[in-house]
C-alpha cells in the first residue's frame, strides 16, 4: 500500500473536493455528476467517490512523491502532463517529479480529476462534498496545498482515452415540468419561458446560474412562505429574472419557482458558458419520468462499459 503526495502549484477560484453529495442540507457534490462518475469508473472506483472538481480557473499539480493513475472527465479542458498535451478525457499514470496542468479548452465549465487510491479529504455528515459557502466537507483547493492519496493503485504505463458520450456535452435544450408555483405567473410569462431563448450570464457559481432573457415577473409582488427547493428549480425573483438553482443551492427559499429542470439535463446544463443560449421545453410529470427512465438506462450502460474497461 503506497501513498502519493501532490502539491497544488496553482488552483483556480472554484477548485474543490466533491463527491456524489450528501442527503439534503444542502446536498452539494459534483456540478456534473455524470462526469464525476465516469472519471471514477474509469479507475474502477465507486461512481460517487471523492475527486477534485476543477472550474474554468484551472489547476496545476506537482506529484511530489509516489505514483498513481489519474482519470479526467468533464468539459473539453486542455490537459498536459509535463507539457505533453493529452485528451480532455484521459487516464494517465503519474509519478514523483511530474506535473499535471489542466486549463479551460474549447468547451465546458467543469472537469473532474479522480485518483486511483483514496483521496484524503475531510468529511462532513459522511461526505467529502464541499459546500462552497461554508467550506464544510473536503474544502476548496488553495495554491501550495498538499494532497495525499493513500492506497494507490496503478493501471499500467499507457495513457488511455475515456470515451466521451454525446450526452456529456453541453446541453442547451432543457426539459422542464412547470411549477410548483407556475400559478403565480401570467400566461405571457409562461409562454415566454417556453418559446423565447434565454442566455447564460456570468452570474454563475455552484449555488446557481442566472439567465438573461425576457422578464418573467410574477403576477404580483409576493412572498411565499419559505419552502424546500431542489437542484434544477427555476426560481424567479421579483424583478422577473430567472435563476437555476444548482449543487450548493440554499435548502429553502421564498421566491416562486416557475418550473423545474429534469435532473438528467442538469449535468449538461452546467457545462454551458456565459452567453450560451438555452431553450426550455415543457413536459408533463409522466413524460418526465419516462424520459428519466430511458436516459438513466442509457447512462447506466455506459457506466457499466467504462467500469468493465477499467477492470481489464
Amino acid at each position: 500500500m503506497a501513498d502519493a503526495i501532490f502539491r497544488t502549484v496553482f488552483a483556480g477560484p472554484h477548485a474543490s473536493i466533491q463527491d456524489g453529495g450528501r442527503p439534503g442540507v444542502p446536498a452539494s457534490g459534483a456540478m456534473d455528476r455524470k462526469a464525476l462518475a465516469l472519471a471514477n469508473l474509469a479507475l474502477g472506483k465507486d461512481a460517487g467517490a471523492a475527486a477534485i472538481e476543477i472550474s474554468m480557473g484551472g489547476l496545476v499539480l506537482d506529484c511530489l512523491s509516489g505514483a498513481t493513475t489519474l482519470a479526467i472527465a468533464g468539459g473539453g479542458f486542455i490537459v498536459e502532463r509535463d507539457g505533453t498535451r493529452l485528451g480532455s478525457w484521459s487516464t494517465l499514470p503519474i509519478k514523483a517529479g511530474q506535473k499535471l496542468t489542466i486549463r479551460p479548452g474549447p468547451w465546458g465549465s467543469w472537469t473532474y480529476l479522480a485518483f486511483a487510491g483514496n483521496l484524503t479529504a475531510k468529511q462532513w455528515l459522511g461526505s467529502a462534498a464541499t459546500h462552497a459557502l461554508s467550506g464544510f466537507g473536503g474544502g476548496k483547493l488553495t495554491t501550495g496545498q498538499e494532497i495525499a492519496v493513500t492506497e494507490t493503485t496503478q493501471h499500467g504505463d499507457a495513457i488511455g482515452a475515456i470515451a466521451c458520450p454525446v450526452w456529456a456535452r453541453p446541453r442547451q435544450k432543457l426539459h422542464v415540468v412547470l411549477g410548483p408555483q407556475d400559478r403565480f405567473f401570467s400566461a405571457e410569462a409562461i409562454n415566454a419561458l417556453l418559446t423565447e431563448p434565454f442566455h447564460v450570464t456570468s452570474a454563475y457559481d455552484r449555488m446557481g446560474l442566472r439567465l438573461r432573457g425576457p422578464s418573467l415577473a410574477p403576477k404580483a409582488a409576493l412572498s411565499i412562505p419559505s419552502e424546500a427547493i431542489l437542484r434544477g428549480s427555476v426560481q424567479v425573483s421579483g424583478d422577473g429574472v430567472p435563476t437555476v438553482l444548482l449543487a450548493d443551492h440554499q435548502t429553502t427559499g421564498g421566491y416562486p419557482k416557475i418550473a423545474a429542470i429534469l435532473s438528467d439535463d442538469l449535468d449538461g446544463f452546467v457545462q454551458l458558458r456565459t452567453n450560451d443560449a438555452v431553450a426550455f421545453r415543457a413536459v408533463t410529470a409522466a413524460q418526465a419520468v419516462q424520459l428519466a427512465r430511458t436516459r438513466a438506462a442509457a447512462v447506466a450502460s455506459v457506466y457499466a462499459k467504462t467500469r468493465d474497461l477499467a477492470g481489464r
Partner: protein
C-alpha cells in the same frame, strides 16, 4: 385544501396552505412523520417547510401519481399521533457588542432594552424548518411586542452564533454571513453539533427556550 404539485421528474410538493398557519405546519409534520414510519418503495427524502412537504423519489422506481396515492392514504389514515416534541435550551448573551441592534429594536418597539430581552426570553419557540445554509433552524414564536420587519438592507459579516429576529422568526446563525435580520445577542450553543450521529441540535417540531447567560459564562465556552 391539500394540493399535490409535481417538481421535475423526481419530487412532489404537498401544499397544505398558501400562507403561514399553525394548523398547516402541524399537518406538514404529521405527514412527514407518517411517511418516515411508512415510506414507499423509491422514497429518497422528505423536507418539511412552513406549509408544505417536499417528497423526493427515485423516478426509476416510482412516479408522481404513485407517490401521490401513497401520501393520500397516509393522510386518510392519521394513525400516527404526532410524537411529543423535545424541549431544547439555547443559551444567549445579550451584551452590547453581541447585540448591535438591541437599541434599535428597543427604539422601534418603544420598549426598554431589558423589556426587549425579557420579551425575547419569554417567547415559546418551535423549530419550523431548516433552511438557507447548514444548521439554519428557523424558529417561530417571537412575541408580537418585538416583531419587526427585516431591515431594508443586509449587514455583511455577521458572526456565527448571532441570535437574530425578523417578524415572528428567530434563528441562531451557524456561519459568518450577511443578514437583514435584527441582531440581538450571541449564543455559544452549537446548532451544528459535530456529532455524526446527531449532526443538528434540533429536530423540526422541537420546542425551544432561550436562557440568558452572562459574558463570563459565554466566555467559559471558549467561543468569544
Amino acid at each position: 385544501m391539500i394540493t399535490f404539485r409535481p417538481v421535475a421528474d423526481h419530487a412532489v410538493l404537498v401544499d397544505f396552505a398558501d400562507s403561514l398557519s399553525d394548523s398547516a405546519h402541524r399537518a406538514v409534520l404529521q405527514l412527514d412523520q407518517a411517511l418516515a414510519a411508512q415510506p414507499f418503495a423509491g422514497f429518497t427524502e422528505s423536507i418539511p417547510a412552513f406549509v408544505n412537504l417536499l417528497v423526493d423519489f427515485d423516478p426509476f422506481l416510482t412516479d408522481h401519481s404513485a407517490v401521490e396515492s401513497h401520501l393520500r392514504t397516509l393522510l386518510d389514515h392519521p394513525a400516527f399521533a404526532t410524537a411529543q416534541p423535545a424541549q431544547r435550551e439555547v443559551l444567549v448573551c445579550y451584551d452590547d457588542d453581541f447585540a448591535p441592534d438591541l437599541a434599535a429594536v428597543a427604539h422601534q418597539t418603544g420598549l426598554s432594552r431589558e423589556a426587549v430581552i425579557e420579551a425575547h426570553l419569554g417567547g415559546d419557540y418551535a423549530v419550523f424548518l431548516y433552511g438557507f445554509a447548514p444548521g439554519y433552524a428557523y424558529l417561530g414564536g417571537v412575541p408580537k411586542a418585538i416583531q419587526l420587519d427585516r431591515k431594508p438592507a443586509a449587514v455583511r459579516g455577521v458572526a456565527a452564533g448571532s441570535v437574530i429576529i425578523a417578524g415572528p422568526q428567530c434563528l441562531v446563525t451557524t456561519l459568518t454571513m450577511p443578514t437583514g435580520w435584527w441582531i440581538i445577542g450571541r449564543s455559544p450553543t452549537r446548532i451544528l453539533t459535530s456529532d455524526p450521529a446527531r449532526p443538528f441540535l434540533f429536530d423540526v417540531g422541537d420546542k425551544v427556550r432561550f436562557r440568558r447567560i452572562s459574558r463570563a459564562e459565554f466566555a467559559a465556552f471558549g467561543q468569544v
